[in-house]
Amino acid sequence: DQVLHIMPETLQQVQHLQLLCSTLMLDLWKPLLPEDIRAGEDLHIRVPAPLVQEVKDSLDQFMISYRVLIPDVQKLVDQSMPRERSSHRQVSGGYVYTEYHPMDEIYQWMTQIQKNNSELVTQHFLGKTFENRTMYYLQISQPSNKPKKIIWMDCGIHAREWISPAFCQWFVKEILQNYKTDSNISRFLQNLDLYVLPVLNIDGYIYSWEEDRLWRKNRSPYKNGTCYGTDLNRNFNSSWGSVGVSFNCSSDVFCGLGPESEPETRAVAQFIKSKKSDILCYLTIHSYGQLILTPYGSTNEPPSNNEELMQVAKEAAAALTGKYGTSYRVGSTASILYSNSGSSRDWAHTIGIPLSYTFELRDTGTHGFVLPADQIQPTCEETM
């Protein structure tokens, strides 16, 4: 956020400023009310970061002179009153991976990660959410002249599952911190590219921070804005709408008006479709339950490569248990959890991605969705 010092000279400029303040609901520091803005008297306005460019453009358009009084409000606040959450631990440039982070911090983190690891990481546009927020994925790719297969991992398709985005961030950090020294990771990266989407359901995630911690769906409005949200993990084009869903918008498993009706679903599906011949493995991270789930949810029919899917999953579960003794169960969604249709994991498998898994991270119900932050580290370490 910035604070601008503005000097309106004419009545027309004053009127424009009053309009700008009320339309954008800007935070007037001096004077306190728009009606007290006068020609010849200076103004101080705090402009939220996303609006800074727009406001400056508007001032330029009306030839209103201004200068930046405070270039970074948060920095000033932090300096005067150190936030308890800013730990002094230096972890990848000061980011604390053992805490849950709101979306604006995750956006900043992605930018930093790309900046600090530009030889390996690139940030890419995937699409836009319903509320018009940008979805980015990180591509971790070691430059090479041979074509590489892809492993895709998305987190945060369900807003309340906070441990999931925390894991994606942890995962990226671990890879980047250790790829030079860990022979497994370096071998991995010689042959594979990693694509990580840290938060798929951005609007929902923000809503779970600001309004309702236990929100699950996205934030598309229905019925004239009286009902919100589609369950994105029932919205994919895999036996869509057939089982384990509701057609009632108020349900937490509302599957939307049709397969891929949601912009978030489309953004992911379009991208994966475009790369599907190169994607070896599709992973989607959820909580809770401590499960590694294989296709399918909509039927008890096993997928064609069920033996391979199960074997890999069992080895993964064993490795996971080896770390802290946490036990994970392995099996198809239909047998372990319930019937469902329209899941991203099932869809990925049906379009031809052979290894397709849903991870349900800690725990098994003791804390459920509100997993304490002190479990972020062990959860992520064992899942690595």
Partner: protein, 211 residues
């Protein structure tokens, strides 16, 4: 009687009912029981009666995780009954850690409060519970254990997601009374449902839900 994989959803759902019942029966401000593992499950379809599950559970005391205790449970879902709770029988093998001292301490502390205790959002969004509220948190487990037991069917799997609100109500008798609003998450429908439940508790007499 058929053997079920303990991973199978019907076994897991019956285990959640047994756990709810156990928490109601044996939980307290100094003891919270968790399910460490479902060791085995069998199911019996009884004509004209319902479906009965035979379970072997391994329980842990969340305040003393090194220790586990075995337990067998029988959960009978009655046929066609929308309004009656599953019948549950449990046998705990072995001793649970005594909480006499902690219970008495908690009881005295609450009785001596000048203002009635009120709290919200336990745990908070980040999963934190202030230490002085942990006993209240565990009493919420007792209360929600009752609600889960009473309201479960073969098509639900409830867990306590969060305590939305708790208010102590001072009484003229010796019981402590807590009015809870608990949020229960049903894994099957994915809904989070608020439930009001009033719990009475006494260090010697234990807990009961007041209707």
């Amino acid at each position: 009687v058929t053997e079920l994989s303990p991973s199978h959803f019907s076994a897991a759902r019956a285990a959640a009912v047994a756990l709810g019942y156990l928490r109601y029966l044996r939980g307290g401000p100094g003891r919270g029981l968790g399910l460490r593992q479902l060791r085995s499950a069998r199911r019996q379809d009884i004509d004209d009666v319902g479906h009965k599950y035979y379970l072997e559970l391994e329980l842990e005391d969340v305040l003393d995780k090194a220790r586990t205790v075995s337990c067998t449970a029988e959960v009978l879902y009655q046929l066609g009954s929308k309004t009656s709770a599953p019948d549950v029988q449990v046998t705990v093998q072995g001793e649970l850690r005594s909480t006499e001292e902690a219970d008495q301490e908690f009881y005295s502390r609450i009785r001596s409060l000048e203002n009635e205790l009120v709290a919200e959002n336990i745990p908070d969004s980040h999963g934190n519970v202030p230490p002085e509220l942990e006993p209240i948190h565990l009493l919420a487990w007792v209360a929600s254990g009752y609600v889960i037991w009473q309201n479960s069917s073969e098509n639900t799997k409830f867990h306590l997601a969060q305590v939305k609100h708790v208010k102590q109500v001072k009484r003229n008798d010796e019981d402590l009374q807590f009015d809870f609003v608990v949020l229960l998450h049903d894994m099957v429908s994915q809904e989070v449902l608020p439930w009001q439940v009033t719990l009475l508790w006494h260090p010697q007499r234990g807990a009961r839900v007041s209707q």
